[in-house]
């Protein structure tokens, strides 16, 4: 346990000392809130949960695996593999730090929404929203783990992750309502991983209630999250592809 704590503290320090981690995970989401607020301030109730999930999605698919991929490319993982540290502890501490960063990111967006745009959020709403955000983060990070596993390099993983992210962002009811989509797409979207998170977080935050279809959403997320986590674990590599 002591080993795990020391390792986790080291992982946290490494992330917090990294300029691009700080910018993309903390500064950029606030910037996004300011931009949306300037353009469509009257829709910020609808937008804020969307911005939370949008950032959780890009964080899960791309940012959360960047440092792991860099460590793999620079042989840092190989050096860690040469110690008696079990792989599970390494991945566990890495995930823990990234979950913390993801939750902190969402908190900053909520704060911006409440303080700048006066979105109506209650304590009950928050208490319901956080578990939903967390579930989304975990599912997205697991999907990001698959992308890292199949990509030879960090650059490739970023490109693949961003492509998936942009595709999902526009169609998942985050920034554009679903009825703007063509009918055939509207039928598919609810089965993609981002849509259920948006519904769960939005109804929790704005109405302090569970979405009517919350069981379906949660089940779908669990399938995505657990399935992706199992695949990602199988794909995990200590070394870059030769």
């Amino acid at each position: 346990m002591k080993r795990f704590l020391i390792l986790t503290k080291a992982m946290l320090l490494m992330h917090l000392r990294n300029g691009s981690v700080l910018f993309w995970n903390f500064a950029f989401p606030i910037l996004l809130m300011l931009i949306y607020g300037a353009v469509m301030s009257q829709y910020m109730d609808y937008m804020t949960p969307g911005v939370i999930v949008l950032n959780a999605l890009s964080f899960g698919l791309v940012s959360s695996s960047t440092m792991m991929l860099e460590m793999r490319e620079k042989s840092v993982l190989r050096r860690l593999q040469a110690t008696p540290l079990p792989a599970g502890q390494l991945i566990g501490s890495y995930l823990l730090v990234n979950i913390l960063i993801g939750v902190l990111q969402s908190t900053l967006i909520i704060l911006a929404g409440v303080l700048l745009y006066k979105i109506p959020v209650t304590g009950v709403g928050l208490a319901l929203a956080y578990p939903m955000i967390l579930a989304g983060l975990l599912a997205f990070m697991a999907l990001g783990g698959i992308i890292s596993g199949v990509s030879a390099k960090a650059g490739t993983a970023t490109a693949v992750g961003m492509t998936v992210y942009f595709s999902l962002m526009f169609i998942s009811d985050m920034v554009f309502p679903l009825d703007m989509l063509p009918a055939w797409l509207r039928d598919i979207v609810p089965y993609l991983p981002a849509y259920p998170v948006v519904q769960l977080v939005r109804s929790a935050m704005l109405d302090a209630t569970l979405d009517p279809k919350w069981m379906t959403h949660v089940l779908l997320l669990a399938v995505y999250g657990i399935g992706a986590a199992l695949i990602a674990a199988r794909l995990f590599r200590w070394e870059p592809k030769a």
Partner: protein
């Protein structure tokens, strides 16, 4: 004789279709500095990786401290201090944090005093709060050594500990390695620099193309081949003519220098002068040197070590 601390038998290893080791056997005794000398790509790093439990050999077995590496990699790793070819540490941590973290990975928890003592011996105390990525090459290499022994291992495996270092930094690292030896630790290091192998190692295995071509003390390796003295001179003469001079067993050019292997240097030198005079050339910078590991490598492999890299 006591049991060897590292015992590799008949190791064959491959990366895909590329064979890296072809039936390598060697033993390392407790407390010695053992060198793996060979050009890049000879298989030195793969051999270390098999000992470290990082690469699974296709055939053969390695025992470290009596433990079968493949059967119990975790127990093997606990006994070892490791420095990989690329320093590859967690760059965004400070020197102190790195030493603390790497020791903790072995479940060794160092006090601030213990960390300080460790940094002192590697001349890193002033840099203790500096991020690893801001250190110079020599400092990073010393930090890699400090990290390698943070868990107080009895066996230390160093892959190219001084490559890419300037002569001053290299000597500092040599002193650190000798100190590890003085403390009774077993050190295995790889190098492609024969002067490093000669300066540090009690015994050497010469590795070429995945095989051990010779293994002994540096002096025994040199003596065993009954090599002649080497006469070195700066002069341009046709090699076929030089080779016909009395007592000359071989001749070659390394850069501008003519190197002549001879059983009787004084006779050969006179003959060389006469040949040069007849050809209208002058000889400069004449030097006589004893055969070294470079010559051993050449004799055994037919290639020049420094040019193979």
């Amino acid at each position: 004789m006591s049991q060897p601390i590292i015992d590799a038998q008949n190791l064959t290893a491959a990366y895909g279709s590329v064979t890296a080791l072809k039936g390598v056997s060697l033993t390392v005794e407790k407390g010695e500095i053992f060198g793996l000398l060979g050009p890049n790509g000879a298989g030195k790093t793969t051999l270390l990786a098999c000992v470290e439990g990082l690469h699974k050999p296709k055939q053969g077995q390695v025992h470290v401290g009596g433990i079968n590496v493949q059967a119990d990699p975790a127990a093997t790793k606990r006994q070892l201090g490791i420095q990989l070819q690329k320093t590859a540490l967690l760059d965004d941590l400070t020197v102190t944090e790195l030493v603390e973290v790497y020791a903790a990975l072995y479940e060794v928890y160092l006090t601030a005093d213990q960390i300080n003592t460790l940094l002192e011996r590697f001349d890193l105390v002033e840099k203790r709060n500096t991020l690893a990525r801001r250190l110079s090459g020599g400092q990073q290499q010393r930090l890699a050594l400090a990290v390698a022994i943070a868990n107080d291992p009895q066996i230390v495996l160093l892959d190219e500990p001084t490559s890419a270092l300037d002569p001053h930094a290299r000597r500092a690292v040599w002193d650190n390695i000798r100190q590890l030896h003085d403390e009774g630790r077993t050190v295995v290091l790889t190098t492609h620099a024969m002067e490093e192998a000669e300066a540090l190692c009690g015994r050497i295995a010469i590795i070429d193309r995945g095989q051990v071509v010779a293994c002994d003390t540096p002096s025994a390796l040199i003596a065993s081949l009954q090599l002649n003295s080497m006469l070195k001179a700066t002069v341009e003469l046709p090699l076929d003519q030089v080779r016909t001079l009395p007592n000359v067993s071989n001749a070659r050019y390394t850069g501008q220098h003519l190197e002549v292997e001879t059983a009787r240097p004084e006779v050969t030198l006179t003959a060389l002068h006469e040949l040069a005079a007849r050809s209208g050339r002058s000889i400069r910078d004449v030097m006589l040197r004893q055969p070294n590991l470079e010559d051993v490598f050449l004799k055994l492999t037919g290639r020049v070590l420094s040019e193979s890299n």
